[in-house]
Subunit: 357 residues, 2 copies
Amino acid sequence: MGQRKSGHVTLLDIAHASGFSVSTVSIVLSEAPLSQNVAEKTRGHIRTIARQLGYHPDAYARSLRRRSTMTIGVLAFDLSDPFCIPLMRGIQEGAHKAGYMPLVMDAQTQRRLFDNYLHTLLERRAEGVIVIASWVFEETNLLGDIRKNNVPIAIVGRDLTSRGVNSILVDNEAGGALAARHLYDLGHRHIAVIRGPEEMCDSEPRWTGIQRVVAETGMKLDEKLVFQLPGVVGPASGFEGGQCFARQMLQSRKLFTAVLAFDDLTALGVVRGLTEGGVRVPQDCSVTGFDDVLPAEVATPAITTIRQPLREMGIEAAERVLQAIQSGVNLPAKAKLHKTQPELIVRMSTAPPAKQR
Amino acid sequence: MGQRKSGHVTLLDIAHASGFSVSTVSIVLSEAPLSQNVAEKTRGHIRTIARQLGYHPDAYARSLRRRSTMTIGVLAFDLSDPFCIPLMRGIQEGAHKAGYMPLVMDAQTQRRLFDNYLHTLLERRAEGVIVIASWVFEETNLLGDIRKNNVPIAIVGRDLTSRGVNSILVDNEAGGALAARHLYDLGHRHIAVIRGPEEMCDSEPRWTGIQRVVAETGMKLDEKLVFQLPGVVGPASGFEGGQCFARQMLQSRKLFTAVLAFDDLTALGVVRGLTEGGVRVPQDCSVTGFDDVLPAEVATPAITTIRQPLREMGIEAAERVLQAIQSGVNLPAKAKLHKTQPELIVRMSTAPPAKQR
DNA sequence: TATATTGATTGAAACGTTTGAATCAGTGTT
DNA sequence: AACACTGATTCAAACGTTTCAATCAATATA
C-alpha cells in the first residue's frame, strides 16, 4: 500500500494514509491560517505521517497555484570573475531574508548563453532579475523582453539608469581618487596609470577621480605614462595587459615610481612584468589595484587596492528588486542609481618612493 | 483587449488572440509530434502571435504536467572556493548537452544552509543532485533523504562509494607523486611537506603518493620537515597555515630546499612566509601547490602546481547523474568511483636547489 | 450510398497544490 | 422549535500546461 504513482510523495498519498482529505492535509502542512481550526490531534497525526513518508511539497505545483515562485534570477555574465562570488553571497543574503531564492545562471562570457538564460529565467518565472555585468556587457535589447513581462530588474557593475534599470555601482571616481591620493601621500610624483578598456564603464570615472586628485595636489601626470588596456576578451586579460605594459615601460626607460592599475588582475600583471625586469615591488616601484579580489590578497607582495563593498552591493541589489516586486508596479522611469563607497586597503605593494632615483 | 489576468502571457491569451483552441496552440508552440498535422498556415499564424505577445511557456505548469523538470541540482558546500567554478562550468556543459539545467545553491560553508538547500532541491524536483565537497564535508544523513525520494546523486571531491554514492575524484596519490617526483628531478633532497588537515579525504592519498616516490628514489624524508595543517575553518585558512608553517621553519633553522604544499593557497602562504623571512622563491627554496586555481597562476612567482581536470570532472559528474536519471533505476549498490588524472604544471616557483647550502 | 481514411482541430482530464465557499454536527440563544 | 453560531472538515475550482481521445468535414474506397 501507499505505492506512489510518480517518484514523489504527494498530498494525496498522505490523505490516503491518514484518512483525511487532501484539503485538510494541505492546510495543516502548509500552515495556512485555517490550520488553527484543525483539531490538535489531527494536526499531529498528519504531520507525523508526512514525516514518515518523507513528504516534500512540490514547489512547482505550489507556485503554479499560488502564482508566485519566490525566486529571483541572477544572471552573471562571467561567474569565473572572482568579483562575482561575494556579490552572489550578498544577493543570497538579501533574498533569503525575504524568503526568496536566487536562481543563478552563468553565461560564461558567451552572449548566446546570456540570451538563452534570460529566456530561461522568464520561463522559470523569476519574479525579478539581477544582472551581474562583471567585466563587459554590451547593450542588449533583451532588457526589453524582460520589461515586456513586467519583471523588475537591477544591474550590478554598470549604470543603466538611462535605460530605466536600477543600477548598483561602486563610486569609481571616489575609488580612483582614493588610489591616487594614497600614492601621492606616500610621496610619489611620477605615477603611471593604466586605464581600463574603453568599452568598460568603470574606466572613465576612475580616470576622472585620478585627475581630480592630480588637480587638487598640483601633481603633474606625464601623458606618456598613461596607458590604456585594449578591449577585454576575458577576465584574465587584464593580467596580460598589465604584464605587457610593465615590459614596455621598462624598455622605454621612463621615470616612474608607482603604477596605478585599473584592477587587481592588471596590478598582478604589472607586478609580474616588473619583477621579470628586475624591478622590485614595492621598494623600486609601488603598485595599486582595484576591486580587492582573492588573488590580490594572497599574492606576495599583497596588493594595495580599492575594495568594492561587493557583499553590500549584492544585498542592495536584492533589496531593490524585492522592493519592486512587492510594490507590484515597477516604473522604469524611477530607476535609481545606487553608488557605494569604496575603501582603500593598504597592503604590501605600496611604499614611499626610493630616495635615489 | 488581450488584457492578461496575471503578469504573464499564457496559452489562453494566444488562443483568444488567434481564434484557435488552447490545445492547438500548445501543440504548435511545444512542437509536439502532432504539430505535423496542423495546417502550415495555422502554425505560422500562431507562432507570430506568440512572438508578438512575448510568450514564454511556464516551466512550472509544463513540468507539473510532464512530470519532469529537466533540472539537476548542484549543491556547493563553498562556492567561494576557486575550485568550484571550473567544476560548475563542466557540470553546466554536461547538463546542457542533454537539455538539462543546473540549479546551483551555495551553502556558504554553513551546515544549516546545506541541509536547507538539499530540501529545496527536492522541493524543486531536481531529478538528480551533484554535491561539490570542496574543502570539507562531514558525513551527513541527508543523503538518505535524497535516496528516499529516489533521486540519483553524485559527489565531487570525496569518495563516498562506500555509502553508495557515485564519486568523482582526482587521483590524489598520483598527484602527490607527481609533485614529489618533480622536486626530486630538479635535484631536491631536503623537501618539507605540508600535509592537509586530517579531516580532508585528499590529505592521506597525497601523502601516500609522496611516500611512494620517496621509496622509489631512495630519498629520505626528515620527519621534522613534515607538517600538518590544522583543521580547516575556511577556504583561505590554508594560506595562513602555510604562512605560519614557513615562519616556524625559518625560525627552527632546519635545512630544506623545497616545500611541497597541500594546495595552492597553502603554497601561496608559504611563499609569503618565506619572503617575509628573506628567503627567495625559487632561488633559495622551491614551492609546489595543488589544484591550479587562479591565484596560483597570477601570483609572482607563479606557482608550480598539480592541476585537477576540474572541467572534465564536472562533465563526468553530470553524465553520471544523467545516466542514472535516464536509466530510471539507480542502484546505490553499483556506485562507482571515477578517478581523473592530475597534471603537473611547471611554473616559476620551482627550480634546482642552490648549490651552496 | 454507406463506409473507411485522412487531415485539422478541439474537449477534457490530468499533474499537485491552494483556498473560498460549502457542509455538517453540535451547542447555545431566542 | 426555529435560529444562529462555532469548530472541524471537505468540495470543487483554479493555476498553465500536455496529450489522449474525440469530433467533424472532406475525400477516397467499396
